[in-house]
């Protein structure tokens, strides 16, 4: 009981407990963030210790005793030796050459061009709407047929990379970097307009601007392989299957 009332013991216990919890969190917390959290906890403990004189004394007493009491001599030299060794180890660790190439930054959703040429025809991406979507309210049967067309296009051309369930995890997905887009994720098609998807599908990886690393993208250029209507149909299918509404201009 006396041990628990000691401020130093309390601080060490809190730090160890915090470290254990932070290390147990999955997915793992990045090292820089971990250091930051521990620093915040350290500041909190500092405030706690310095709040009263008794606590200050209780914190320092064991440390002081360690430094002067003769019966603690082995422990004293143990600690005094361990600290420089730990510091040297930490320095060496931080100096070890990295074995990971720096991550290449790329803009995932670059700004689209105002207009593109698709099979010799000019399409204004600002104004283009999915011509098949209008049928959703007026002609449910025709709309369902468009979605079916989109489904056929998807499973004939896209699922190998983007996955059966549109989650970007098809059988070939992990061979590519960047990974194929996960349409179920809120960060992809849910944030984009349909005309944006048209551009990405029609022009593929090679149509990306330089800041989006076009050389790395495995997204094929579908212009010439899919018709304009097929592309709009597969876009319809992506939104219908995931349940995301497309982003609109207004």
């Amino acid at each position: 009981m006396r041990l628990i009332r000691n401020a130093l013991v309390q601080c060490l216990a809190v730090l160890l407990l915090a470290l254990a919890v932070l290390l147990a969190v999955r997915p793992p917390i990045p090292a820089s963030l971990l250091t930051f959290y521990l620093a915040v906890i350290g500041v909190g403990l500092g405030v706690y210790i310095t709040a009263t004189t008794e606590r200050m004394e209780s914190f320092w007493r064991p440390l002081h005793a360690l430094l002067i009491l003769d019966r603690l001599r082995p422990a004293r030299w143990g600690v005094l030796l361990a600290l420089p060794v730990l510091a040297a180890g930490q320095t060496a660790w931080s100096l070890l050459p990295t074995r990971q190439a720096p991550a290449t930054l790329r803009v995932i959703h670059p700004a689209p061009p105002t207009q593109i040429r698709f099979e010799g025809r000019s399409i204004n991406l600002r104004e283009a709407r999915n011509p098949l979507r209008a049928a959703k309210a007026s002609e449910p049967r025709a709309f369902a047929a468009h979605v079916e067309t989109g489904r056929r296009v998807y499973y004939q051309n896209c699922f190998q990379c983007h996955g059966d369930n549109l989650a970007g995890d098809g059988p070939f997905a992990h061979a590519f970097n960047p990974r194929p887009a996960n349409f179920q994720d809120l960060g992809t098609i849910a944030q984009l307009q349909e005309s944006y998807l048209f551009w990405r599908i029609a022009k593929g990886g090679p149509g990306l601007p330089p800041e989006s690393a076009p050389g790395r993208s495995a997204m094929p250029r579908w212009e010439g392989r899919l018709s304009e209507e097929e592309i709009w149909a597969v876009i319809l299918f992506l939104y219908e299957m995931t349940g995301h509404p497309p982003r609109t201009w207004d």
Binding site: L67, L69, R71, L95, R99, F159
Partner: protein, 537 residues
């Protein structure tokens, strides 16, 4: 009775179907084998699930002719045939409902059949499995007898050694090859029953690609009950496997042939720094210093002509460098090569069938290693499919019909022009038991300023790969592809790595001494309220 079950239609409302309803509702795997008669398809609870998730590949009629038929290999299962590979029932029998549920839940690695457990959950998987059963089960057929797979004993060194003898005795190597890489003598002549098309024996060294599962129990099941519709026979009548222990010995041996989890995909291939000469001998001990780097390969479905199912699915790459040279060691599984028996037997057979004339050239295997010729420092690499006009890539190409690796300039994907100058590039290829191992090395810096250089600063060069298996009709643009990776030259140890830590240790030590001396001096003077020194020495 669960609410989703439709009222009984006269055709299926009998005792069996009531059991069936109970089994489906509870998702019970064992009880499922007792339920065999099927509900009329229209009102089946599995029907909408099938329509939303299965039909695109397996087709509305369950015959495997869905929209994705042309884009998949292996082809989607034709349920109407009633032939299923992964069963705990006797050879030629239908699977149990539980067998179907397991494949739906866990998928088939290396195929376009994904795992549905997360998407559908056990109850809906049970419903759709029952619906699939309806494609091949006629009304009053008796359910198949479920065979039990006992729990696996732990693997031991002795069990693996005994299993190896069984592998030889049962002549598994005739198809699967001596080292298990699917390169047995008759490996390329096998046919499957659905289409009569070719089927290839499993490469047993990549457990993460076992379609029926990689657990010991999965291998036990496949060995014992065979794979319906394929040349893999059942062995439950096999005398050498009559004892339970012998069966597990064989399973443990097979599992010892390679890892059962897919290696981690990383982005940086580290070339370890070594002092000695870079060895061209692939078995040289120095190569063990380099960590194997796993490169998964995908089909090239981007430019014509496309390839949907690549033969080679991964590479293992090792890299080393010293002050003057850089070396790469690339290995990949290819069950056919110019002078292996698997290829010779397949070609003999093709000649007998008239698919090939005796004088025709041998199929050519290829490996191309690719580097960008000019690239901006920030990310803008040439197109990963061998560049494009204005963004060229340099290739190091090995072909099975050439003695040495050549340097080449890529023209477009799958086409290149050889360069006359070897720039000091030397190589060596070894093929054994279905495994190609190519080692190559080159001076890090060459005289040609326009070529690829490997300087210490920044020590990073983008690298990519593509492979073709000639026997499977690959070559040109039809090849397995990889994305860009970074080849990183490990830095030699620097002096500051040793000096700085010592300096830090000295500083910390000095600070400690200062605190120690001051504290002790103050304690000797006797500050009130602090513990006194007991006996100063």
């Amino acid at each position: 009775m669960p609410s989703h079950i439709q009222p009984c239609a006269p055709t299926w409302c009998d005792r069996g179907s009531l059991l069936h309803v109970a089994a489906v509702g509870a998702g019970l795997i064992l009880a499922a084998s007792a339920s065999w008669a099927q509900p009329a398809p229209r009102e089946h609870p599995g029907r909408p699930i099938y329509r939303d998730h299965c039909l695109q590949c397996h087709g509305a009629e369950g015959d495997g002719h869905g929209d994705a038929f042309d884009a998949t290999f292996p082809k989607p299962r034709d349920f109407t045939s009633g032939l299923f590979k992964f069963r705990t029932t006797d050879s030629g029998e239908h699977p149990t409902l539980g067998n179907l549920q397991r494949i739906i839940a866990e998928g088939m690695p290396g195929t376009s059949m994904p795992a549905w457990a997360q998407v559908l959950g056990p109850q809906r998987i049970a419903q759709v499995a029952a619906y699939v059963q309806g494609f091949y089960v006629q009304g009053g057929a008796p359910p198949p007898v479920e065979r039990q797979v006992p729990p696996a004993p732990p693997p031991t060194r002795e069990a693996i050694a005994r299993g190896r003898l069984l592998y030889e005795r049962l002549e598994c190597a005739r198809c699967h090859g001596r080292a298990g890489r699917g390169d047995g003598n008759s490996a390329m002549t096998l046919k499957e029953d659905w289409t009569g098309g070719p089927i290839y024996p499993r490469d047993l060294t990549a457990g993460w690609r076992f379609r029926g599962g990689r657990r010991p129990e999965d291998l036990y099941r496949t060995i014992l009950f065979g794979l319906n519709g394929t040349p893999m026979p059942a062995h439950n009548e096999e005398k050498a496997l009559a004892q339970e222990q012998a069966r597990w010995d064989l399973v443990h041996y097979l599992r010892s042939l390679g890892p059962d989890t897919e290696p981690e995909v990383k982005s940086t291939l580290v070339a370890r720094r070594v002092d000695g000469e870079i060895p061209l001998d692939p078995d040289h001990a120095l190569w063990e210093r380099a960590e194997p780097f796993y490169v998964p390969l995908a089909a090239q479905v981007i430019v014509e002509p496309r390839l949907f199912q690549p033969s080679v699915r991964y590479l293992l790459v090792r890299a080393l460098h010293n002050a003057a040279e850089i070396g790469l060691r690339v290995e990949w599984v290819d069950p056919t090569s110019r002078d292996n028996e698997a290829l010779r037997e397949a070609l003999r057979k093709a000649e007998q069938d008239g698919r090939r004339r005796p004088g025709d050239p041998l199929p050519v295997d290829e490996l191309a290693i690719q580097f960008p010729l000019r690239h901006a420092a920030r990310g803008d690499l040439p197109y990963f499919l061998m560049g494009r006009p204005g963004q060229p890539v340099r290739l190091w190409v090995w072909r099975s019909d050439a003695a040495e690796v050549i340097r080449a300039e890529a023209l477009r994907f799958g086409a290149w022009r050889a360069l006359a100058d070897a720039a000091g590039l030397t190589s060596r290829l070894v093929y054994q038991d279905g495994l190609y191992v190519l080692t190559l090395k080159r001076p890090r810096i060459t005289d040609a300023p326009a070529g690829i250089q490997f300087p210490s600063e920044p020590g990073m060069v983008p690298i990519s790969f593509s492979v073709a298996d000639g026997f499977k009709g690959e070559g040109g643009a039809r090849r397995a592809i990889a994305t860009w990776y970074t080849l990183m030259l490990e830095r030699p140890p620097e002096a500051r790595l040793f000096i700085l830590p010592l300096l830090v240790a000295a500083l910390v030590g000095a600070a400690e001494m200062l605190v120690l001396r001051r504290t002790r001096a103050r304690a000797r003077r006797g500050t009130p309220g602090e513990p006194r020194e007991e006996a100063a020495t």
